[in-house]
Subunit: 340 residues, 2 copies
């Protein structure tokens, strides 16, 4: 059978199981609306380490190991790790997974990383190259602020369009055997540049990439938004979410019924002062690994489209006046197998 659906999408012949997940978040995320769903909430953003970057690596390490433990496997059963983060040269991942002694495919898709990892991991399993793959992504508010904007000690004021980088990691063990949920399809995203240059308005920068991926997804699979119980983008926040609803409406798709965003869900708008919501690789990774995975397991959600979304900028590209392109990868996660 043909696994490439044409366009930008693939389907999986042998259903790939999400055998287990793990999510570890910081104290602020642990006070948000999803608080009851995370495996572990840290008391302190330092996670017992001396620097923010080392704290992020520690969170990755612990979440990766917890995901493997939750799967019932040990490290020797995991064929590959596919993971990434926002730090320069992905050091949160490098130092986080080093001790596991499992071959690593490092990936970078900014905050789309978790979606990219789920897609690649499912392809390696369905293709017969791996039985079990560990996928993960992370971010840390303090390391991200220092790297992308300005050191926290400066006390810079955040504009109302800014998002709050999630401190956390989400990891999943994908497997060729097991119970629901299953990854049944995937649409890979393209780099889309619509001329946004404001690093404090990343929702607007990423929205066109989401629309590009969504339109292609619905076309490739011959579906419409109503097919899914839930459609959740990665971390567009309120402004980006609204933009997607409007832009998709112009494309002829009604996204007003079942579409939300992990960045909207992870913080409380009224009490947590995060402006447009959460962001960072760890946002969709921990929201899925914590909240959605359990909702699907429990049968409350039967099918969802998870679309982690990334803003592809660096401090250097910003300083050189480059635009902020976006990218979004869409993962179909369902509670029933679609054997073909």
């Amino acid at each position: 059978m043909q696994k490439k659906k044409g366009g930008q999408s693939v389907i999986f012949q042998y259903p790939v199981t999400i055998k287990s997940t793990a999510s570890i978040v910081g104290p602020k995320e642990g006070q948000g609306p999803l608080r009851d769903y995370f495996d572990l909430t840290l008391d302190d953003v330092m996670a017992g380490q001396k620097t923010w970057e080392k704290a992020e690596s520690k969170i990755v390490e612990d979440a990766m190991n917890l995901a493997v433990k939750n799967s019932g496997f040990d490290n020797s059963h995991i064929d590959f790790v596919i993971a990434g983060d926002l730090l320069n040269q992905s050091t949160a991942t490098t130092f986080g997974v080093m001790g596991m002694k499992i071959p690593l495919f490092g990936i970078f898709g900014a905050c789309s990383t978790f979606g990219e990892g789920l897609g690649l991991g499912a392809m390696l399993i369905d293709g017969g190259f791996a039985k079990n793959v560990l996928v993960g992504a992370s971010s840390h508010f303090c390391s991200a602020e220092r790297q992308f904007r300005s050191p926290l000690e400066l006390g810079g004021q955040r504009p109302p369009t800014a998002s709050w980088t999630v401190t956390g990691a989400g990891c999943a063990v994908l497997s060729n055997a097991g119970e629901k949920p299953y990854i049944t399809g995937f649409t890979a995203g393209r780099v889309i540049d619509m001329g946004i240059t404001d690093a404090n308005n990343m929702g607007a920068a990423m929205a066109p990439a989401v629309v590009d991926t969504l339109v292609n997804h619905f076309k490739d699979f011959n579906r419409n938004p109503a097919y899914y119980d839930v459609i959740a983008t990665g971390d567009l926040g309120y402004i980006g979410h609204e933009l997607v609803v409007r832009l998709m409406s112009e494309e002829g798709f009604n996204m007003s019924e079942n579409y939300t965003d992990c960045g909207i869900q992870i913080f409380d708008r009224e009490t947590q002062d995060t402006h447009v919501g959460g962001s960072g690789c760890g946002c969709s990774a921990s929201a899925f690994s914590g909240y959605y995975y359990k909702k699907i397991k429990q049968g409350e959600i039967k099918s969802m489209l998870l679309i982690p979304t990334g803003a592809l900028l660096s401090q250097t590209s910003q300083q050189q006046g480059s635009n902020i392109p976006g990218i979004a990868h869409a993962v179909v996660i369902e509670s029933s197998r679609q054997d073909r």
Copy 2:
């Protein structure tokens, strides 16, 4: 059949062809021993751009488009791009491939990136998820020096153990149909940390990762070094090459006959003043895409093991006193199919 060979390796059931390559390098690389093999040598490291980073993106863009042109395809035939670079948040890749409008899997493996991409790309094709995949990696001497060490304008003195980051990009179009050469196997690397902390001696930092991957490769495939006409690591340079020969000898493998390093080959030791040799994602990518690809096409090399090798550091991890772990991915490239 079983495509996972156990251990860290996979074999390909349907031979994956390297349909075409393209290599673009800077003026210094174009004066080195491989000068006759590159598709294009730039007159100027700026490549007509205003910044080094934008120059690197331009080199990526031109090399990617040239690889597609050389394949006889157009962009609409390419299912996915798999690519990465050394710049923070992989911006050389983002801005380089943006105009192609092809779905992107961004990867990061430092200077092992080209090997990671060839391995993943071959799996996506052999797994039936893609017909054609474009793989690429790049680096730029000036953008790398500024980012990892110090701005060129400071005129810092390079210690004798330092390598010279290659300005260049190498790209390959992998396909499910076509003539030799074929990618017939792949061994994924693990993150290996042996306690090296000197960013000016990356050959030593990466050598243990090469040894780990090589030993596992020979074990997984039940081969020894003599199986290959050529074994070429990515960019260990003279010191790392010597270390690999010695460490492999301790493991019982004779690497003294057919083992070289792209970092050694790309510059002339006597006249080009690059100390231990070339490095950077673009080193093995351009050396393979330029030199080796043509040698295999011409029949002078029948089988080679290409092992791009990465040093996993950032300026931040260095400043925080972290070690420099390494990673190495091994790609088997042969002139005859091994149908199984």
